[in-house]
C-alpha cells in the first residue's frame, strides 16, 4: 500500500521536475521569470488559472463541507465561481494593460509613488502568507497520512518542492506544473463522477433523496455551517471582491500577450473550475451516502477526507486493490495541487519583494536585467524559508481563521485600492495607504473576534468579516484621499492611465 502511494507520488514529482528542467532553460529575463515572457495562450493560462483556483481547500474542502453540512457546502463552492465575474469584467483587462509583474506595478503606475507601491507590497505579502500557511499545513497532514512520515518532514518536503519549481523554472515552470495538476485533478473528478453516477444508475436526484432520508431534510437547507443569517452574504462578498484582490491570481494576467487573451483565459477558468465546483455537491452527497458522516468525521474533523474516502469506496473499498489505487491517486493529486498552488504564491510573493520592494522602492529601478533575476531568486529562497517556518509553527493551530483572513484581506484591503486606482480620478497615494491600513486592520481584528477563532464566545457574530471590513477598507481609502488633498497634476495624469488601462495601448511589453 505504502509502496503504491510512494510510486504515484514519485511519478507526479518527477513529471513536475522534468517540467522545471525544461522551463529553466527558457527562463533568463525578469519577464520570463515573473510572467513567462507574456507569451501564454488563453487555453494555457486558463488551465493554469483553474489550477491556481482548484487548491486543496477547494478540491478536498468543498466536497467535505457538502458531505457534512449539505447546502452550505454547495453555496461555498458556487461562491468561488461567482467571484470571477468581477475579475472578468472589471479587473483583469485594465490590470493587464497597466502592470508588468505585480499588483504593485498597477498601483505605482497610477500613483507614480513609491509609498503607494510599498502599501501594495504589504497587502500582497499578508494575503499570500495567510493563503500559504493553511495550504502547507494541509499538505503536511496529507503526506503524514499517506506516507507515514512526520508533519515537520512533510512541510520541509513541500517547501523544497515549491522552492525548486520557482527558483529554477520561474513562471514558466509554475504555469506548467499548474496545468498538469489541473488536468490530473479534472480527470480524477470526471472518473469519480462517472463512477458515482453509475452507482446510482445515473439518477443524480437519488443522492438528494438518500441524503434527506439518512440525515434529515436539514441537510438540504442552508444554516448548518453558515449559521448567522448574514454569513452567506458575507461569504459571497469575500469571494466576489476578494478574488480580484488575490495577487497570485492577478499575476496570471501578466503571462498573456493582450487583454483579449486575458479575457478568454478567464472564460476557460470559469468553465473548468466552475464545472468542478458544481460536481463537488454530487461528490459530497455521494460520500455522505456511501461512506457515511461518522466515517468521514472519524478520518478528519473538518471533512477534508470525504473525497479520498469516496474514491476508496468507489474503487472497491478499503483493503481492495482498486480502493488502494484510487485512494493513492487522489492523495497524490491533492499533494500536487497543494505544491502547485504554494509555488504560485511563492512566485507572487517574491515578485512583491524583489521587483516591488528591492528593484523599484529601494533601488528606484536602477537594476540590471541580470541582477533583477538574481534578486528574484534570492527573494524566492527567503519567501520559501519563511513559509516553511510558518508551516512548521502552524501544526495543531486552528488554521481555519487564516483561510478566512486571506480572502477577507484581499477583499477589504487590496480590492478597494485596485478598484479606486482604476476608476477614480481623485484617488491618491494617501488613499492607497489609508485603504490598505484600514482594510487590513479591520479584517484581521474582526476575524480574530469572530466565531472562527473564539467559537461560542465570539464578539463579532459573522465568520467572514468582509461584510463590515470591506466597507471600512473603502472608507479608509476615501478618508486617506481626503486627507491627502487634491493635486491637479496628479489628477490630470489619470487621463493617461485611464487611456492605457482601457485601450491597452502599451500592448507589446517586450518589443
Amino acid at each position: 500500500m505504502i509502496g503504491l502511494t510512494v510510486g504515484i507520488f514519485l511519478l507526479i514529482l518527477s513529471l513536475t521536475l522534468a517540467i522545471t528542467y525544461w522551463a529553466a532553460k527558457r527562463t533568463n529575463t525578469a519577464s520570463e521569470f515573473y510572467a513567462a515572457g507574456g507569451s501564454l495562450s488563453a487555453k494555457e493560462n486558463g488551465f493554469a488559472l483553474a489550477g491556481d483556483w482548484m487548491s486543496a481547500a477547494a478540491f478536498l474542502g468543498f466536497s467535505g463541507l457538502v458531505a457534512l453540512y449539505g447546502m452550505d457546502g454547495s453555496l461555498y463552492a458556487v461562491a468561488a465561481l461567482v467571484g470571477f465575474l468581477v475579475v472578468l469584467m472589471l479587473i483583469a483587462e485594465p490590470m493587464r494593460n497597466t502592470g508588468r509583474f505585480t499588483l504593485g506595478d498597477v498601483i505605482a503606475e497610477r500613483m507614480q509613488s513609491r509609498h503607494a507601491r510599498l502599501a501594495a507590497v504589504v497587502g500582497t505579502i499578508v494575503v499570500n502568507l495567510a493563503y500559504m500557511v493553511p495550504q502547507m499545513a494541509g499538505a503536511g497532514a496529507l503526506i503524514k497520512l499517506m506516507l507515514g512520515i512526520s508533519y515537520d518532514a512533510s512541510i520541509v518536503l513541500v517547501g523544497i518542492g515549491m522552492i525548486v519549481y520557482v527558483l529554477f523554472g520561474g513562471m514558466i515552470a509554475t504555469t506548467w506544473v499548474q496545468i498538469v495538476k489541473a488536468v490530473l485533478l479534472l480527470a480524477a473528478a470526471i472518473v469519480l463522477v462517472v463512477m458515482l453516477l453509475a452507482a446510482v444508475s445515473f439518477h443524480p436526484l437519488t443522492l438528494f433523496s438518500s441524503v434527506e432520508q439518512t440525515y434529515g431534510s436539514k441537510m438540504l437547507m442552508p444554516g448548518n455551517y453558515l449559521k448567522h443569517p448574514l454569513d452567506a452574504l458575507s461569504l459571497f462578498m469575500s469571494f466576489i471582491f476578494g478574488v480580484a484582490g488575490l495577487p497570485h491570481i492577478m499575476t496570471r494576467f501578466y503571462t498573456v500577450p493582450d487583454a483579449r487573451t486575458a479575457r478568454k483565459s478567464v472564460l476557460w477558468l470559469m468553465f473548468l473550475a466552475g464545472g468542478f465546483f458544481l460536481v463537488t455537491t454530487l461528490i459530497g452527497f455521494a460520500a455522505a451516502t456511501f461512506v457515511g458522516q461518522p466515517a468521514i468525521l472519524a478520518a478528519d474533523k473538518g471533512g477534508n477526507l470525504a473525497l479520498p474516502l469516496l474514491a476508496q469506496y468507489l474503487g472497491g473499498g478499503a483493503g481492495t486493490l482498486g480502493g488502494q489505487v484510487f485512494l493513492a491517486a487522489i492523495c497524490a493529486i491533492a499533494f500536487a495541487a497543494i505544491l502547485a498552488v504554494v509555488a504560485g504564491l511563492t512566485l507572487a510573493s517574491s515578485g512583491a519583494i524583489a521587483h516591488d520592494l528591492y528593484v523599484n522602492v529601494i533601488r528606484k529601478g536602477r537594476v540590471s536585467e541580470h541582477d533583477q533575476v538574481r534578486v528574484a531568486k534570492i527573494a524566492t529562497l527567503a519567501v520559501g524559508a519563511i513559509a516553511v517556518g510558518f508551516g512548521l509553527l502552524a501544526q495543531g493551530i486552528n488554521v481555519g481563521v487564516l483561510v478566512i483572513l486571506a480572502i477577507a484581506v484581499a477583499a477589504s484591503a487590496n480590492f478597494p485600492i485596485i478598484f479606486l486606482s482604476l476608476f477614480w480620478r481623485r484617488f491618491n497615494t494617501a488613499g492607497v495607504i489609508g485603504g490598505i491600513a484600514v482594510g487590513l486592520v479591520s479584517s484581521v481584528v474582526l476575524a480574530l473576534l469572530g466565531p472562527a477563532f473564539l467559537q461560542g464566545k465570539a464578539i463579532f457574530p459573522i465568520v467572514n468579516p468582509t461584510i463590515l471590513s470591506m466597507p471600512l477598507g473603502f472608507l479608509g481609502a476615501l478618508l486617506g484621499t481626503w486627507i491627502g488633498g487634491r493635486n491637479p497634476a496628479h489628477e490630470a495624469r489619470f487621463d493617461a492611465f485611464s487611456f492605457k488601462a482601457h485601450s491597452g495601448m502599451v500592448v507589446n511589453k517586450e518589443q
Partner: protein, 127 residues
C-alpha cells in the same frame, strides 16, 4: 495584433516610455475626450454594468434568502431537489451565460474600438 496599424508606432517599450505624449497632459485629456475613446468606454459600460448588476443582484438575493428565509429554500421542486438547490444551479448557469456573453461581445467590439482610439490619438497628437 495587426502590426500594420499606425498605432503600432506608439507601442514602445514600457521602461523607456516616458514619452512626449505622457508629459503633455493636455494631449491625454484630449485623448480620453476623443469620440473614439468615449465610444469604447460607453461600449464597455453598457455591456458590463447590466450583466454584472443583474448577476450580482441574483446572487445577493440568494444569499439573503439563505440567511433569512430558510423554509423557502427548502420548498421541494423535484423529489428532494428544492428551491435552494435550484437557485444554486441557476447561479452556475447564470455565471457561465454572462461570461460567454461578455467575452463574445468584448471580442467583437473592444479591440476594434481600442485600435481606433489609439489610431486617433496618433493622428491627433501635435507631435
Amino acid at each position: 495584433m495587426s502590426a500594420m496599424l499606425p498605432a503600432q508606432a506608439l507601442v514602445t517599450n514600457r521602461d523607456t516610455e516616458a514619452s512626449e505624449v505622457q508629459s503633455d497632459s493636455g494631449t491625454w485629456a484630449a485623448a480620453v475626450a476623443s469620440p473614439s475613446f468615449r465610444r469604447l468606454m460607453t461600449t464597455k459600460a453598457r455591456l458590463v454594468w447590466p450583466l454584472l448588476g443583474a448577476s450580482l443582484a441574483f446572487v445577493v438575493a440568494m444569499t439573503l434568502l439563505a440567511g433569512y428565509d430558510r423554509p423557502f429554500m427548502a420548498i421541494k421542486v423535484v423529489g428532494a431537489f428544492n428551491v435552494g438547490y435550484l437557485m444554486i444551479l441557476m447561479t452556475y448557469l447564470l455565471c457561465w451565460l454572462v461570461a460567454v456573453i461578455y467575452v463574445l461581445v468584448a471580442n467583437k467590439q473592444f479591440e476594434v474600438q481600442s485600435r481606433q482610439a489609439i489610431a486617433d490619438l496618433k493622428i491627433g497628437s501635435p507631435r
